[in-house]
């Protein structure tokens, strides 16, 4: 290998969309190739874990780590790549804050296994076989990675230098970050301060071109129930849009095509818990009768009726940020003395 800086990209518990987004920087990928040597990138090049284990510590200059920590293998790879990398980047929503995989923190490992391996119309598993970390066979012992109870983000297992949010991060943001790294490596430009890079510092609404007025929501609609007006704020039309509680950087892609923001860029700076802020925001913009005009019990029923049109509040408000939320996961019966 040449003495070019080394780049690695690894997927843990992820869908592969981050790799696609990275390759989506189009011809800039040639610049990346010109500046970097690929040291490890299972999606596009044939490297083995043994190769990484053979590298000296700090051999990889930049490691883009995407995917959440779902299994013991994910965690081992995080530790290995941290040890071998100078700069560790939590790349994409999964590595940053758990993303879709971490939604399973709202249930249990047993329930997840039940759905995946046993109780599902497309499953044919008459013996009820579930994956076992250790299996004894005639030839010896077989092991597979342990499936954790709780999905974690990358920064909960290793030290992370930079975070690029997004599901997946937008290619122009990826390139902006890579460009800064390339400038630092080739021209000695200063690296950005550690933390979130490749994103804005305001809410998605700031980037959204829809017209905003006073929000007075009478009920929420699921996307299939309405044909949204193309110019007016989606939230004002009763379509759940996380834009108000989500960091900018994507260019408000989803709301501009009529789909409420899913919240994939995570909380805006200074916010710990995106879901809590969303609870706060949604509750603030409801239109349920004027003060003093109706009885309190009636008012409460009206509010509850509006909330009935949000079928899965935790899954909606924490769709991407569950692993980074304050409570982190659901409480399972048997913890404490709680009853359901």
């Amino acid at each position: 290998m040449s003495d070019k800086p080394k780049l690695a990209m690894y997927w843990a518990s992820s869908c592969g969309g981050c790799e696609i987004a990275t390759l989506n920087i189009h011809e800039h990928i040639l610049d990346v190739d010109a500046v970097f040597d690929i040291a490890f990138f299972p999606c596009i090049a044939d490297f083995k874990v043994k190769d990484v284990q053979g590298y000296p510590d700090g051999y990889i200059d930049v490691c883009l780590f995407n995917g959440a920590i779902r299994t013991s293998e994910n965690e081992e790879m995080a530790h290995l790549l941290r040890q071998k990398s100078k700069v560790m980047v939590a790349f994409g929503s999964c590595a940053y804050e758990g993303c879709i995989p971490a939604l399973s923190n709202l249930t249990t490992k047993d329930a997840t296994f039940n759905t995946v391996y046993l109780d599902n119309p497309s499953i044919d598993n008459p013996d009820g076989i579930l994956p076992q970390p250790v299996t004894l066979v005639a030839e010896g012992t077989l092991t597979i990675p342990v499936f954790y109870h709780t999905v974690k983000s990358l920064d909960q297992v290793v030290k992370v230098d930079y975070t690029i949010p997004g599901c997946p991060p937008e290619p122009h943001q990826i390139w902006a970050v890579l460009e800064a790294v390339v400038a630092a490596l080739t021209q000695g430009a200063p690296l950005p301060p550690s933390g979130v890079v490749g994103a804005g510092s305001v809410a998605v609404c700031e980037e959204c071109s829809r017209k905003r007025d006073v929000k007075k929501i009478k009920r929420f609609y699921r996307p299939y129930e309405v044909d949204p007006d193309p110019d007016i704020c989606l939230l004002e039309q009763g379509i759940m849009c996380m834009g108000i509680a989500t960091r900018s950087g994507c260019g408000a892609l989803c709301p501009q095509v009529g789909m409420g923001c899913r919240g994939c860029y995570g909380p805006v700076p200074g916010v710990t818990d995106q879901g809590a802020k969303m609870v706060s925001a949604i509750a603030s913009v409801m239109d349920v009768g004027k003060m003093g005009e109706i009885d309190e019990a009636v008012l409460e029923r009206q509010i509850e009726a509006v909330y009935d049109s949000i079928p899965d509040p935790a899954g909606t408000f924490y769709r991407f940020s569950m692993a980074h939320s304050i409570l982190r996961r659901t409480r399972v019966a048997g913890n404490g003395h709680g009853k359901e």
């Binding site: 709780t150 809590a276 509010i303 509040p313 399972v332």
Partner: protein, 158 residues
């Protein structure tokens, strides 16, 4: 647990204009209420960020009490309505996290209702005592993972 009664820890958020004074009145009138509740004063129940509740629960509280002015009596016109709407949505969300609805309560108490507030606190302490400890940090370690680290202290500007 047999010889020692479980003493729940409840964080109570009170409104400067009503319930905080109600608690004060309870004290001055020598109305007793259990020391399990630790009261914090906000300017209004509408100041209550749902994050405060989550942080209290994760930080070791077994329950959270939110108090505000009666509907129509808010010092800031209708922020207690906002508090009610936030509370109802937060309660739904918390249910999905496995937090029993009794653990987070909203109570209206005017500055004159010291005795009523004390009575409601009594009731809440007994309800949570019956539910048992929440110990949120162990919720994760109970599944074989490391317990949750404590949240860093943070200055919240007014």
């Amino acid at each position: 647990m047999a010889d020692k009664q479980f003493e729940p820890l409840i964080i109570g958020f009170t409104c400067n204009w009503c319930s905080y004074r109600a608690a004060d009145l309870a004290g001055m009138s020598r109305v007793k209420y259990p020391p399990n509740v630790r009261l914090m004063r906000l300017m209004c129940s509408g100041r209550l960020d749902p994050e405060f509740v989550l942080k209290a629960l994760r930080g070791g509280a077994d329950g959270v009490l939110i108090t505000g002015c009666h509907p129509g009596e808010c010092h800031y016109l209708e922020q207690n309505y906002k508090a009610l709407r936030r509370f109802l949505l937060l309660r739904r969300t918390l249910k999905q996290f496995g937090v029993e609805p009794q653990r987070v309560r909203l109570i209206w108490a005017s500055a004159a209702e010291g005795a009523r507030l004390a009575q409601e606190i009594n009731k809440m302490v007994e309800e949570i005592r019956a539910l048992g400890p929440l110990t949120w940090r162990d919720v994760i370690s109970a599944n074989g993972d490391r317990p949750l680290e404590a949240l860093p202290a943070e200055e919240v500007t007014a």
